[in-house]
Symmetry: C2
Subunit: 635 residues, 2 copies
């Protein structure tokens, strides 16, 4: 396998992908109709948008916070994606109103930060380590690019280009030294470069990446300049922000998980743009460490609330899992870059795992409530401690997750397809249409499927003229039996890096049918994961399942799953908007004979049979509040 860094595939533009009715179509609709307006309302209620009016003065209430600009920017990005696929004048006027505020808030030199300009005007760029200044800038840049691509208007793009130019005038060789404590601007600058063609943005991104972890350490010098002890900060160590050593020498995913994902995404972007194999090699090493030792089965990452991030290999506690929604989103961002760089399906496997489980669990089915943390076990009657919380919230003081999940769902189409030389790739299965230019021919792929509820996928090719290309269909890592038919006849497809390759001269109306066997599976974790020893999780297709208290007469944490119990899948159209549940027999630990006792000798197994019903993990906590568990003890 070559490790040479180059971009092999290009994701289809969002405008060219239409997600039709089905699992994702529904989520996109909820996101558009509920989540995006809800977040806008919350941004107003919490006076984040008003902070852009630049009327705050010392002593007044509602002091702007250093994260605010990023919350607004991510909402703008989500709105831009939504406008791409679903024009909406009301939404557009809300967007334009904020863009006007941003334009007015921008300083003459291009600087744009509502916190510093109003609260600490003399302290710009004095604390890159902690103050999220470049992080906010990065999100504004992403919003500017997304808005330009959605509308063709340069209103926000021009603002962020001026800001990026200002930043470029401040930092770089022969100028100020620096790199951000919270990564984000690096990947944003690559996006800006791709949208504008201006190489200076790519160079500035590379500068920030290359500065990271250098000795003498910039964060030390910066702290001393403020008159502070270098080590005295929230993160405590530079591992926290992946600045403990130069990025090419990093081998283990450490620190704050969201920061890590944004950094690695930028490293992948730069590797692809610059052909830097050493960056690509670092990405591969970090990827393997993450996905083989530090990732929940949900695709959630970062088990600890202490650093909102990573701990040690195989440390994956379930009830105290932090697994921030933003971190799973960051993993999707990185995975998409890796799959497009390499054409290897294993990256898309992780992308799918995170999307269907650890990301979607972050937002309620009504689109108006969010999890910041995504534990794999929750105790419904939990009181004061940080174990899995069983209820989503409408918003957060630190509100990164809601607009992040909104921008990802709004742009889901672009994660589903890529075009490569003489090939069209399907990474994700979702009803809808994708238009691509392949082998210099415009073709449309119309996908019909009920995925993930079943594994049948039919793709109809529309083309003005016959065209030869490879249709590359991902064979998911979870799938152990599959087949392909072309126009009704079984064909043998070679598997290339995890994709079934259907090499064909396509005529208009050709139909490919992919059939993925989707049995109910019991999955176990690596024996080095102490919390999951002797336990299994239930999975079917890409969906991980869980037991919720509302469906069970016995405490879900006291239910064992016998190895021999048959588990069957059944679609329930009225449950949770239509969902395939898994049913079978479990064993509930008997509650008799315990009066006055907390411990007792085991005489017999003392269990009773109980019907179990598992629902997709991503849909938990949408009904009555109660306990939940993913990993069941085997019996």
């Amino acid at each position: 396998m070559s490790t040479a860094a180059q971009i092999r595939l290009r994701p289809l533009a969002l405008a060219d992908v239409q997600i039709g009715p089905g699992f994702w179509g529904r989520r996109v609709a909820i996101n558009r109709r509920a989540t995006i307006p809800h977040i806008h309302r919350k941004l107003l209620e919490t006076r984040r948008i008003q902070a852009l009016e630049m009327k705050w003065r010392p002593g007044k209430s509602h002091r702007p916070h250093q994260f605010y600009d990023s919350d607004i920017a991510k909402w703008l990005e989500a709105a831009a994606y939504s406008l791409t696929t679903h024009p909406d004048p009301k939404l557009e006027s809300r967007v334009n109103a904020i863009i006007r505020l941003l334009g007015r808030a921008q300083q003459a030199d291009g600087y744009l930060n509502s916190y510093y300009t109003q609260v600490e005007p003399k302290r710009r760029w004095s604390n890159l380590r902690d103050m999220h200044e470049l992080y906010c800038a990065g999100h504004l840049i992403e919003a500017g690019v997304a808005h330009f691509q959605a509308t063709g208007k340069r209103t926000l793009l021009d603002v962020v280009c001026r800001y990026a130019d200002h930043i470029d005038s401040v930092f770089g060789p022969g100028k100020r030294t620096g790199c951000p404590g919270h990564e984000e601007i690096e990947l944003a600058l690559v996006r800006l470069y791709r949208a504008t063609g201006q190489k200076r943005y790519l160079k500035l991104s590379k500068y920030f990446i290359d500065q990271r972890g250098r000795r003498p350490h910039f964060f030390d010098a910066e702290a001393k300049a403020r008159g502070e002890e270098p080590g005295a900060f929230w993160g405590r160590t530079y591992e926290y922000c992946q600045a403990h050593r130069p990025v090419r020498r990093q081998r283990v995913v450490v620190g704050h998980a969201v920061r890590a994902m944004y950094l690695y995404s930028a490293m992948a972007d730069l590797a692809g743009e610059t052909g830097d194999d050493s960056l690509m090699a670092a990405c591969r090493r970090l990827w393997n460490n993450l996905t083989q030792r530090r990732m929940y089965i949900t695709g959630g990452i970062g088990p600890s609330f202490r650093n909102e991030g990573f701990t040690s290999d195989y440390d994956l506690p379930n009830d105290t899992a932090y697994a921030e929604t933003c971190a799973a989103i960051g993993l999707v961002l990185w995975a998409q870059r890796m799959v497009n760089l390499t054409g290897e399906a294993r990256y898309a496997d992780v992308m799918e795992r995170a999307l269907y489980n650890g990301v979607l669990s972050g937002v309620s089915l009504d689109g108006r409530k969010f999890f910041y943390e995504n534990p794999l076990a929750a105790y419904g009657d939990q009181g004061t401690i940080r174990h899995g919380r069983a209820r989503r919230q409408e918003f957060f003081g630190c509100a990164c997750c809601p607009p992040n999940v909104a921008r990802l769902i709004a742009s889901i189409g672009t994660y589903a397809y890529s075009a490569g030389p003489g090939a069209a790739y399907v990474h994700l299965y979702a009803a809808g249409e994708a238009a691509a230019e392949i082998a210099e021919q415009k073709v449309t792929l119309s996908q019909h499927t009920r995925y993930p509820w079943d594994g049948q996928v039919s793709i109809t090719v529309t083309t003005a003229a016959p065209v030869r290309f490879d249709l590359m269909l991902r064979v998911p890592g979870w799938c152990r039996r599959w087949g392909v038919k072309l126009n009704g006849k079984a064909v043998r497809a070679a598997v290339m890096k995890g994709y079934a390759r259907i090499r064909h001269r396509w005529a208009d109306g050709d139909v490919v049918a992919l059939s993925l066997a989707m049995p109910v599976e019991r999955v176990q974790a690596h024996p080095k994961v102490p919390q999951d020893a002797g336990r299994v999780a239930i999975q079917r297709g890409p969906l991980l399942y869980c037991l919720e208290q509302v469906d069970h007469a016995a405490d879900v944490h006291a239910i064992l799953l016998p190895d021999r119990s048959r588990l069957t899948a059944r679609f329930q159209p009225r449950l949770l908007g239509g969902v395939t549940v898994i049913q079978g027999r479990g064993l509930a630990l008997a509650r008799t004979g315990w009066t006055g006792r907390l411990y007792r000798p085991t005489a017999r197994r003392s269990t009773r049979p109980i019907r179990i019903k598992a629902v997709p993990y991503c849909l938990w906590a949408n009904r009555r509040k109660g306990s939940m568990t993913v990993w069941l003890p085997r019996a």
Copy 2:
């Protein structure tokens, strides 16, 4: 069962109990030879003792801390107990040196606190909630009583009486209102009353207890007087210090676990001294809540590091268990009071459980290293997060646990025996001798036993003249088969509140042999404890066992215990100073087939047989650093 509060039994005085060679004799010797000198050295190294010289001035280093006096007081108490059973001129001169410092540090009005006098001389009694002023006073009082009882000298007793009198002049009806944030002085004042006969100390104790949780809340008023928001403190809620409601209306053990235990101990003391049935009823309710819903199988209590205390019913995580050593010690203190108030062995059962497991785990076998937290699972390669730590430390910045365990072990004899009307009680089995006056006759009970390594206990009665009394031998709650012989002949003994009653007219040389069957048991937890579902712990007699990594080729967290696997006990004289281990066959999760994978479908069980060797939990972490686990998944 009567709930009337009265003292039924009196523990034998420490001077009247001699602990002979054996399990406890060895621990007492280590405590005397290693732990007590080690802590003295640490008190000097950390300049705690020097803080009593009252030479600190603002701007100087080594500022006294508000806990320091209590650390010194507990060491003095431990030293006093040790002097009681083992005179030692060198130790006595160290004790006297500190007493001289305390005498000089005492202010003219009797006030004695090294922190306030030197650091905040104007702020005495301004923050009872947080500043441990009365807590330190309580420990000084306990030390004063212990020193007086050990040596007959009033040097320290006079100091603490003056201090208690000063406190009595400040607080009480018609004087200042108040009660401490960290309980301790309440039980100390009862001790001082018992030692001196001065009723005012008992009344002051009752005053503090009765103030607790009253509305309007004293802590609110006190905070406002300091110009602070009432809720803005470390504990956040008054549950933290059991001041959320009056003590007689408390039904659930809440908040900081050590504080809770000291409070309940004082409530039991007061119930006994005053015949207050409402206090006794509260004690019984709280006891049942604690031992039936909130106690680890080790007798450790307080699962959360956040409040160093309690969370919710059945929440007993193993790897993140806080289970502070001091909290298990506090449980022993409370249990001893409850057993002496009621004559019910169930309290002694918990006392024994905590002593042999959650307390003893707090100190290394060499007596010079300590656990503050006592988790039930540890991951040996653990990095940055708060999971079970696999290595004890020489001391702590907050050094409450080391001198606390030292004072408990030094006084263990007084927990073993009590005298009641016409009865001698044996609560704990340990080789040695106890002298008691029963039915107005001096008798000596000589105990011969290898307990807890086996369940054979022989007691020889020495008496100048025949005497009729009931010998009450505790039948431990863990024991399901037992028998008694008197002078070699089996006798039927009635069981009274958990004690086998041997009613006899005792002649000199009579021998009672108690035989307690001590098979290896698998124990399960209540099905509502989510962390232990599908798991068993190994117990034999009072000792809980664990698997340590050093004894196993497979990761201990990947070892399952089949229900049918036979477990056998075997004494290994050279291991850990002589210890009974439990051996048998387990199943280790196979490590093959995992290359590059973190999750995979379960095809077969994929385990391999492995020999397991369990060692007593209290002795873990005395060899090579590594993982440990108590609760094994059943297979």
